[in-house]
């Protein structure tokens, strides 16, 4: 265990991403050809059987999602790749797109065939302008070789809004509007872009698709944790020796990730906490480090797998200060559509600043807890629902850090 296993990054460093022939020499675009020789239903069944689940955070079964859009009756359907990657501490989708853009295009085209869509969009975060050229080069080369057939892919740039990673906000943004989440249902597979059936999947999810068809659903389903099989790419930041990325099977534990692959805590210091899944993730104490990184195992301990960001803090770090900064993030990124989040993130930020400045009371901390709980079930979208998690989990696991700052 604690070995790297490269599936989505299988071509990392092996091919020139700007040369389609190198991708083809590795077996690229064979899976698309195979997909097109299958019945749509059988193809979706194969993806379902692999038990591939979304890598964008929600962990929804990919094949099942595709089947909803396949069944939806419409002349026009869309495939969207969510390349918004806004979760602080995360850069895995960038790695995939920088090093192997065709694996993404191939996955999207397979999805297009499966659900009956002839148009795909890549919603690329505005912070990755260099990838616009990489992706457009790949699209052009695939077009020249007529590999994508009637499936057209267009890259659109976001403009710096974290909430646009939420799939319905992303769709609004693609339509040229403010990126405010929609009320759900209807869900995008039934009514998405321009109200047509739409599949939104993460970059890493799409990057798994071609390999699954090549090696078979059973092969894939047998890797890692059975309920969330395959690998996951993690990006390690903070006080860890190896501040880099790793792709590992999903039954790897947090401890292995930080102490084996990550090389442990930098500067010979002791571990204090780790936040997994990005800035909306839970802070996890030492006692829970033997949890496997798989989706459900993480949920079981009140944490999230999220985007796969792993933010490590050593014993010298001021947790309350870090959480205060995070509260500032959410206040800034709340889109303002619903009151519990618009007001809630502002109040959490205000109270965290007060506590961090040494002017808070025990009453403030219990108020933070209560407000956080209310937000977690009353906010419209995942942003507001998850925003209190860093506050709530640090109050739960690191109460002493708060007490030390109270008046």
């Amino acid at each position: 265990m604690a070995e790297e296993m490269r599936i989505v990054l299988r071509n990392y460093g092996k091919i020139n991403p700007l040369k389609i022939d190198e991708y083809i020499n590795q077996g690229g675009y064979k899976s698309l050809e195979k997909a097109r020789s299958m019945e749509q239903k059988a193809l979706i069944e194969e993806i379902k059987k692999s038990n591939l689940r979304g890598r964008g955070g929600a962990g929804f079964n990919c094949g099942q999602k595709w089947s909803f859009a396949y069944q939806a009756m419409s002349e026009q359907k869309y495939v969207i790749c969510n390349a918004d990657e806004g979760e602080p501490g995360t850069y895995k989708d960038r790695l995939i797109m920088e090093n192997d853009p065709h694996t993404l295009l191939e996955g999207m085209a397979i999805c297009g065939y499966a659900i009956g869509a002839n148009k795909g969009y890549i919603y690329l975060r505005g912070e990755y302008p260099h990838l616009m050229d990489v992706l457009n080069t790949a699209i052009q080369q695939a077009g020249e070789k007529e590999l994508l057939k009637d499936f057209a892919i267009e890259v659109r740039s976001g403009a710096g809004a974290y909430v646009c990673g939420e799939e319905t906000a992303l769709i609004e943004s693609l339509e040229g509007k403010r990126g405010e989440p929609r009320f759900k249902p209807p869900y995008p597979p039934l009514e998405g872009l321009w109200n047509q059936p739409t599949i939104v999947n993460n970059v890493e999810t799409f990057a798994n698709v071609a390999v699954i068809l090549e090696k078979g659903a059973e092969w894939y389903a047998s890797i890692g944790a059975p309920a969330y099989p395959g690998t996951k790419v993690f990006t390690l930041t903070g006080d860890v020796n190896n501040k880099t990325f790793f792709e590992v099977p999903t039954n790897t534990t947090i401890r292995e990730l930080i102490f084996k692959l990550g090389g442990g805590i930098a500067g010979g210091k002791k571990f204090k906490a780790v936040q997994i899944g990005g800035t909306s993730g839970a802070f996890i104490p030492e006692e829970l480090l033997d949890t496997p990184v798989a989706f459900d195992a993480m949920s079981a301990v009140g944490a999230t797998l999220g985007s796969g960001a792993v933010f490590v803090l050593d014993e010298s770090r001021d947790l309350v200060d870090v959480v205060t900064r995070i509260a500032g993030f959410f206040e800034h990124e709340s889109c303002g559509k619903c009151a519990p989040c618009r007001e809630g993130t502002a109040r959490v930020c205000e109270m965290m600043n007060k506590v961090n400045a040494g002017q808070g009371s025990a009453g403030d901390v219990s108020l933070l807890e209560r407000l956080g709980r209310v937000m977690s079930y009353s906010c419209l979208c995942g942003l507001g629902q998850a925003a209190p998690a860093p506050v709530l989990t640090t109050i739960k696991h690191f109460k002493a850090d708060y007490n030390a700052k109270l008046m």
Binding site: Y91, A159, G176, A309, F329
Partner: protein, 147 residues
Amino acid sequence: MEYQDIIANYGDTPGGIIQAFHAVQKKFSYLPEDAIVEAAKVFKIPVADAYGVATFYSMFSIKARGQNVIRICESAPCHIHGAAEVVAALERELGVPMGESTGDGLFALEFTECVGQCQATPVITINGKPYFDVTPAKIPAILAGYR
């Protein structure tokens, strides 16, 4: 090219107003009022909606700003690795506080959240180009490239 021509290039792109705004900013560094009004006309939406879009996204500015936009990541991984010192050094070097532009119109200073280069914290970007493991000592040399 004037903003009218830039926006007209995107007129046939459904939902293309955001792409049009990016293109306008590439030339002017911000979204002039006239360009927002023009975009509303081209995309056949109320001016209020075009403003709504222009003000929603953090990369767009409706205020004139310096030609080279410096953004400093303040997300948690950069925060704990000294983003605040980088901010102080930039403010000192340029003589303006965060959120402002230099008098010569050369630089604008802004905060940003994570730019996805967290393998090398702290990170700043200038016109979208990232600089890695930035320290106060590295600032003068980085800025020299834009003067």
